[in-house]
Subunit: 297 residues, 2 copies
């Protein structure tokens, strides 16, 4: 049940959760996340239930499940033990696509005017915790539209009041749909930043010290400490990038390692040596602290 449902096109409307459930697009009738820790998440519904959600169209900052009272206030901390949240973590770790359904109760401009709408497949690009608007710990998942999933159209009645509508027949929607192209330019720019850091360290991992040798040369990865983009908003600068082996990169991105201000590396709660440094490579303490904050539990 992971991936597309045969015969259900992107944009398919449903008048109710019951109909979306019968179509197998989102099976539970109340829960916002469908999935299990072992299989990953099948689908999520955005319907305005969590005030920390952000909907940017082809990127969604989706708040995990739990900790609310009956009137939608966050009254306790969320946990990764919650099966819906654990399912989204599995989808992230395994790179699995998740069906996204938007409901009209969401305040997003991308919400349908009424009922629910299947909006295609998204990936869980990253996740982390933070203190939510109500002061309790929440987990948030950055969902990015998967290859082939279009930016949702903004339905006419959802347009902001002050937007230009001189021509009633003018097309509505996203004026800058070239996500693919700008993504590529962003990746190219970011590669230049990462390459500078990798050169300083000659591809040696700043955490564990190994250098991977391949027939095509040594290999390492440039890893952003404070992740780029919302909700983390890290800068794409060399002082926010570490030269890491792929294993330590996974550990940094999943919070298995965090870094103290002293540059001591903490792996799953235990001190595991000091970050290797290079005289030309200064590090941003602000980014290091922001990453630690993201993995507070």
């Amino acid at each position: 049940m992971i991936g597309e449902i045969p015969g259900v096109p992107v944009g398919q409307p449903y008048a109710s959760r019951v109909l979306a459930s019968e179509a197998k697009v989102h099976r539970p009738r109340i829960a916002g996340i469908c999935g299990t820790k072992s299989a990953g998440a099948e689908s999520i519904v955005l319907s305005g239930g969590y005030k920390d959600d952000e909907d940017l169209g082809d990127v969604i900052i989706y708040t995990g499940h739990g900790g609310q009272d009956g009137s939608g206030n966050q009254v306790s901390d969320q946990s990764l033990d919650d099966s819906g949240n654990a399912a989204l973590v599995t989808s992230h770790l395994q790179g699995l696509p998740v069906r996204v359904i938007r409901g009209s109760k969401s305040e997003s401009v991308y919400a349908p005017q009424s009922g629910y709408r299947y909006d295609g497949l998204y990936r869980v690009a990253s996740y982390g915790s933070k203190l939510g608007i109500d002061g309790h710990l929440i987990w948030q998942f950055r969902m990015e539209a998967a290859l082939g999933t279009p930016t949702p159209v903004i339905e006419a009645d959802q347009l902001p009041v002050d937007s230009p509508r001189s021509d009633a027949n003018a097309p509505v929607g996203n004026d800058t749909p070239d996500r693919a192209s700008s993504n590529v330019q962003r990746i190219v720019r970011s590669s230049q930043v990462k390459n500078a850091v990798k050169r300083w360290h000659s591809d040696q991992c700043q955490v564990c010290g190994i250098t991977i040798e391949t027939p095509g040369g040594t290999y390492s990865e440039g890893a952003h400490i404070q992740a780029l983009g919302r909700p983390h908003n890290g800068p794409d600068r060399t002082d926010n990038v570490l030269c890491l082996c792929p294993n330590c990169h996974v550990k940094l991105d999943t919070g298995a390692i965090v870094i103290e201000d002293s540059l001591t590396v903490i792996e799953n709660g235990v001190a595991a040596g000091s970050l290797r440094t290079h005289p030309q490579h200064t590090l941003s303490l602000e980014c290091i602290r922001s990453h630690r904050e993201r993995w507070r539990r």
Copy 2:
């Protein structure tokens, strides 16, 4: 100069290499690969110079540079020391996009009728060596259309003679353009195969024995021994998948490690222990041999 050239749309024709060079789309006037080992490849030209090339539209099996005589026969082995070939390896290791230009001398149905055409950005998904048609070692690079790069249109005069053309005004091109959607289904199916292997090994790396612990659970990767798809054509079956840590996955995919029939792991020419096994996890010797063959040098 990596990535798109501002103002140059996909599909832009050039009457000659000189004009493509002046537009900075492919700067050298003779060489098929523009790039260096340190910066990666900027662009490649497909123009029929290498008989082992295969052009499937959004996937290109591109033969590296070198080893030919004046009349296009392969008379000696190719090498990764060649700067063009080394540039494509760098693009692969760093995930950088490469501009693709097709020329009319290519025998592909996707070639332009005349001159040259800029066809957008591709990624170097994998690479490896094999004995070419002329019996010498060649290096081949699997180029996949990047996010946002459309499958090239088949120009009318390139249509195979036996294809239906009852209506002279009928559209020409690719009848199955839903690459994105079928890719997603392929990834989902492949995940099920990988997950079975990862469960057998409880996320312990079959090569180095480590298990990565993250706050969301243990982490490993399912790695195909014989890569999927052309030119490798490996099967998506559990006997072609290993449970590896990300570091050993990079090593397997770049030929830094190969496996002997005895399941001894050879890392950069040195025996490095035996592959860990699980009673339920049989391995295909055919796939292991095919992977070894791919990294013969």
